[in-house]
């Protein structure tokens, strides 16, 4: 009883702070379950994938109802994120857990640095997606330029496929396909949504407005994580008793976070989280070397 309650509270905290800070659930759930509850990293990734799908589906439903996400672009790219997830999900069971821990440590360090840079630039303000922060942190590599000729997206038969939205045209689909496949592999290996790759990819490389890129990325998370969750579930990588309280907690926390987001001063919270992320990265690094 006590452990289930603790796990649910941990899930609420992961969902709440993930939502407030735009981290996405997986970045916090996997360390919570491995360091906090002693689960092996592969089981934690399986549980995280389920939680990530749940929060993504709830949010994507709202985005679709409000017509913010680009359904055609999202579906075109998620074919490749699903392929990447199929590869990543299969590889995850062949890779030594220590390598997964080292990969996760690298991811946490990157997120901490991105959040730290953002905290230095802004004094509080509304909660924003960490992928959006990553976009701004790497704005120097931006290639979105309205003067640049658009090469469009062409099918195998040479006819142009319309993936564009109101006021923008999608370009560099080839790069998008490669990036989406990579995002799927990373998502399946580490149990994250992959928005930190997909949002900068769509916005900076493919010319999709930031708001649409964020919503479309969220839409894509569901099918990406489903492709790998199927593999984890059928190979014993999902522990239902651990997944239950965690997923419920994350769902409640994410809902609460979306309601509190505009009322919370994030100055102290951001720095606290940079410290927590760096500490967690250190712990994961130690696990990787163990």
């Amino acid at each position: 009883m006590a452990i289930a309650a603790l796990m649910m509270v941990g899930g609420v905290a992961a969902g709440l702070f993930g939502s407030l800070l735009g981290l996405g659930g997986g970045v916090l759930i996997v360390p919570l379950l491995t360091i906090g509850f002693g689960l092996d990293i592969r089981t934690a990734v399986g549980v995280s994938l389920v939680s990530v799908i749940m929060t993504s589906s709830a949010a994507a439903g709202v985005y679709l109802e409000r017509h913010v996400a680009n359904l055609r672009l999202g579906m075109s790219l998620e074919l490749f994120t699903a392929l990447g997830a199929l590869i990543g999900g299969s590889v995850a069971f062949l890779v030594d857990e220590r390598w997964l821990a080292l990969l996760f440590a690298a991811l946490l360090t990157y997120v901490a640095i991105t959040m730290g840079r953002s905290a230095l630039r802004t004094a509080g303000g509304p909660a924003r997606d960490i992928a959006v922060e990553a976009v701004e942190a790497d704005a120097s590599m931006a290639t979105v330029d309205d003067e640049t000729p658009r090469d469009g997206v062409e099918s195998a038969t040479g006819s142009r496929i319309d993936l564009d939205g109101p006021g923008y045209r999608v370009r560099r689909m080839g790069v998008g396909v490669i990036g989406a496949t990579g995002a799927g592999v990373v998502s399946a290996l580490l149990g994250i949504g992959g928005g930190i790759i997909k949002v900068p990819l769509m916005h900076l490389v493919m010319g999709v407005p930031l708001r649409v890129a964020t919503a479309t990325s969220n839409l894509m998370v569901g099918i990406t994580a489903s492709a790998s969750a199927v593999i984890y579930a059928s190979r014993g990588g999902v522990d239902v008793f651990a997944a239950g309280p965690t997923a419920i907690g994350v769902f409640l926390g994410a809902n609460l976070g979306s309601r509190l987001g505009h009322r919370v001063d994030l100055r102290i919270l951001r720095w606290l989280f940079v410290a927590i992320l760096l500490y967690t990265a250190y712990e994961m690094f130690q696990r990787g070397l163990a």
């Binding site: 589906s57 199929l86 969750a229 579930a233 999902v238 239902v240 008793f241």
Partner: protein, 118 residues
Amino acid sequence: MSGPSEALERSIGRLLTAATYVAVTLIAIGTSLAVAAGISPLSGGPPLEPSTLPSRLLQLQPDGFLWLGLLAVIAAPIARVIAGGVAFARIGDRWMTGVAVAIVAVIAIAVATSVLGG
């Protein structure tokens, strides 16, 4: 944006939201039953066995509800793709219909490889 009408996007959005709430309810029931039975979340849950799922549900076993809920979570985005594919087929968009079919095929390959390899 060309493609399915706004009404269709709204319908798909509602489908996703409804499926998520059904899944959350099933998982909440399973978690409550597990807590009532004194099962620790760290005891290691049983693996997925689709053939025994109906009987586990009828016996009100927590793992039955938890697995059904988790399968509903996983199925929700797949259902969204299938619904999108059907809608695109109705408006004669062969490219997007093909994309939807390809996505479902990738998921089917994932299921097949895990069942055969697992």
